[in-house]
């Protein structure tokens, strides 16, 4: 038997039916749902008289439009309230476990799946959300789907899938101090482009990936979709198993040991074939800051805003000109001369305990600059929030001048009250700097949690490598 890559193996073990020249019907092990992309799917089931096939493999949470403060007050947003009610009703009727906004296990869907141990190696995991790629950090095949497919999975626990191509991204060497998983993935997207992985499932490997914690691997896999990747994966190893052990949905004792043996077999075989390979020297990567309106428009913190006139491709030039106009930036401006109005630390990319620890290590004993209007920290889940509070991180954030909120998607997408005002500039640990993403007319710069914290203190971007901070890595 020829050596297989991880994607091939998971695919092969999930094919329910296959005919030549057709997509395969593959089985879905975990289906995660939230309030925004599921109501129409349940309505579709209802009108066709269909039932949820495997409510026991389906998990629901409220995250996208939940308020991050004053949750005990009645909801002001009545349109959002109707979606929450629909999710409550749909889950109750189908017998699906739901973490509503008052549940102590509530959080961003891609944070709670791994945190509760629902996410495990070798599984197929889908959710009506493009950042489902996050779960691939465990060696699972996890990808985002539309609402029609949410309905399809609810009804059949299967999906018709075309086989993707595979892309191996090797991050060789060791990342430098002050350079985080976020910088690795931003630099990677900057290199291959926002459509660079379209049609592909990415496997990340190499020393810099192996050295990352699970939190870091999740940050990397999370942003696979920003390069157009169908999914992103990292082979499970001892870091993975140690993270999983003891979590609520993970087997224990002898069963855990048996699971670890199965999970080990998921990794790509030596010499496995990939359709494409990209190699990047992680040791050369600096802290990254985006300057434009997609995550591929990114520069080293020591660099400057590029001059679109120097771009050889006319579409890229045109697109960079538009981006600079939207961002209110001049070509040649040094990244460190860009001042900011707000800071957002949160999202499914960077709101795990390690992210909060790193940001807090920068903030400890310092104050947010007076020119910064708001600094917001939104933990990825209520469990993470409680753990951070047990470590005293909340006190560091609050003492520095940050607002300490309840868990949700918050200002990454601005579907609740946490919105970036028009014309204002935000240092954000989220995943998308698209026009209007954080709020109409808002200007987003994507950075790591440490870089966001340092920008909060100085009021502009700074090179975190120049700071003498302890880090929790």
């Amino acid at each position: 038997m020829p050596p297989l890559n991880m994607y091939d193996k998971i695919w092969a073990s999930h094919v329910v039916a296959e005919e030549p020249g057709r997509p395969a019907l593959i089985y879905i092990d975990r289906h995660l749902i939230h309030e925004i992309t599921s109501p129409q799917a349940f309505a579709g089931l209802r009108s066709a008289g269909r039932k949820v096939r495997r409510p026991d493999l389906t998990f629901a949470v409220m995250d996208h439009s939940v308020p991050t403060k004053n949750r005990n007050l009645p909801l002001v947003d009545q349109v959002a309230a109707a979606q929450f009610e629909a999710l409550e009703r749909n889950c109750r009727e189908a017998g699906i476990l739901l973490f509503n906004m008052h549940d102590p296990n509530q959080g961003i869907v891609h944070i709670i799946g791994p945190d509760l141990g629902i996410t495990q190696p070798g599984l197929t995991i889908v959710c009506g959300d493009s950042h489902t790629s996050t779960h691939g950090a465990f060696g699972a095949l996890a990808f985002g789907i539309g609402t029609a497919e949410v309905e399809h999975v609810l009804a059949t626990q299967c999906l018709w899938q075309f086989r993707s191509k595979t892309l191996l991204i090797l991050l060789n060497g060791r990342r430098r101090r002050g350079v985080t998983a976020k910088d690795l993935i931003l630099a990677t997207i900057g290199k291959i482009g926002v459509g660079g992985a379209t049609g592909h499932v990415i496997e990340y490997a190499g020393e810099a990936i192996r050295d990352l914690s699970m939190e870091g691997r999740m940050t990397v896999c999370n942003m696979s979709i920003e390069a157009g990747g169908r999914a992103g994966m990292v082979a499970p190893d001892d870091t993975t198993f140690a993270y999983l052990e003891g979590r609520p949905f993970v087997p224990r004792g002898k069963e855990f040991q048996e699971a670890v043996e199965r999970w080990k077999a998921v990794a790509s075989d030596p010499g496995a074939h990939f359709d494409d390979v990209v190699e990047i020297d992680a040791a050369q990567i600096a802290p990254q800051v985006t300057w434009g309106t997609n995550p591929g428009m990114v520069a080293d913190v020591t660099g400057a805003v590029p001059d679109p006139a120097t771009f050889s491709d006319s579409e890229m030039r045109h697109s960079a000109e538009r981006a600079l106009q939207y961002m209110g930036l001049e070509p040649g401006t040094r990244i460190q001369d860009i001042s900011i109005d707000r800071v957002f630390i949160g999202s499914c990319t960077n709101a795990r305990l390690e992210d909060l620890r790193l940001a807090a290590s920068v903030l400890d004993g310092r104050k947010v600059a007076k020119t910064v209007k708001q600094a917001l920290v939104v933990p990825g889940s209520e469990r993470i929030k409680a753990q951070a509070e047990a470590e005293g991180l909340d006190r560091i954030f609050k003492a520095a001048g940050f607002e300490w909120r309840d868990a949700g998607c918050s200002m990454c997408i601005g579907m609740n009250d946490d919105v970036l005002p028009s014309g204002e500039r935000c240092a954000s640990t989220s995943n998308r700097n698209f026009e209007g993403r954080q709020g109409k007319g808002g200007r987003t710069h994507l950075v790591s949690p440490m870089m966001a914290a340092a920008a909060a203190i100085e009021g502009h971007f700074v090179d975190i490598r120049q700071w003498n901070v302890d880090h929790a890595e």
Binding site: T147, E151, W160
Partner: protein, 207 residues
Amino acid sequence: MTPFRKHTGLVVPLDRVNVDTDQIIPKQFLKLLTREGYGKFLFYDWRYLEGRKPNPDFILNQPRYKGASILLARANFGCGSSREHAPWAVLDYGFRSIIAPSYADIFYNNCFKNGILPVTLPEEQVDELFRRAAEKEGYTLTVDLDSQTVTDESGLRFTFEIDSFRKECLLNGWDDIGLTLRFEDQIANYERRYPSQARQYGPLESR
């Protein structure tokens, strides 16, 4: 789902690369419980100025493109969020087909679930269509799924590739859940051979 066989319509050229689904339908319109009624929000932040005043500079607002039903676009169209509200808005506005050099995977897939045909043509051919659409007011194209062709009135004829299964589903307007339920025996067999479970072993947090 409405089948797609052949469609002739006015073409509107949207000359931007990497159009993301946040632009196609901004987040403030994702809180509804329906699949219909999103057409008025399509490209909302580009289409409207303050106070819902139409932005005269945006291509969809130009009188010559009123009633367009074929969207001519650039590479990596529909990137970003998986929101199916994007194709719902495209369809509800009146588009039946999109022509672009490439699409983001999830958006592409979502189009087929909603009776929209996303045609993929090489960059040079898309450039040619952009030229013709700019040159001639009222430029129309015919997109024929059966013969896999895009044609205009002055003899242009491009052929496109499409997966045969997707083509069949779109031509017939098949509901793929109905299709899958015919595989019930295989699904049940799979579940017997490889039982997937999500058992809880330890306690969750409680208040």
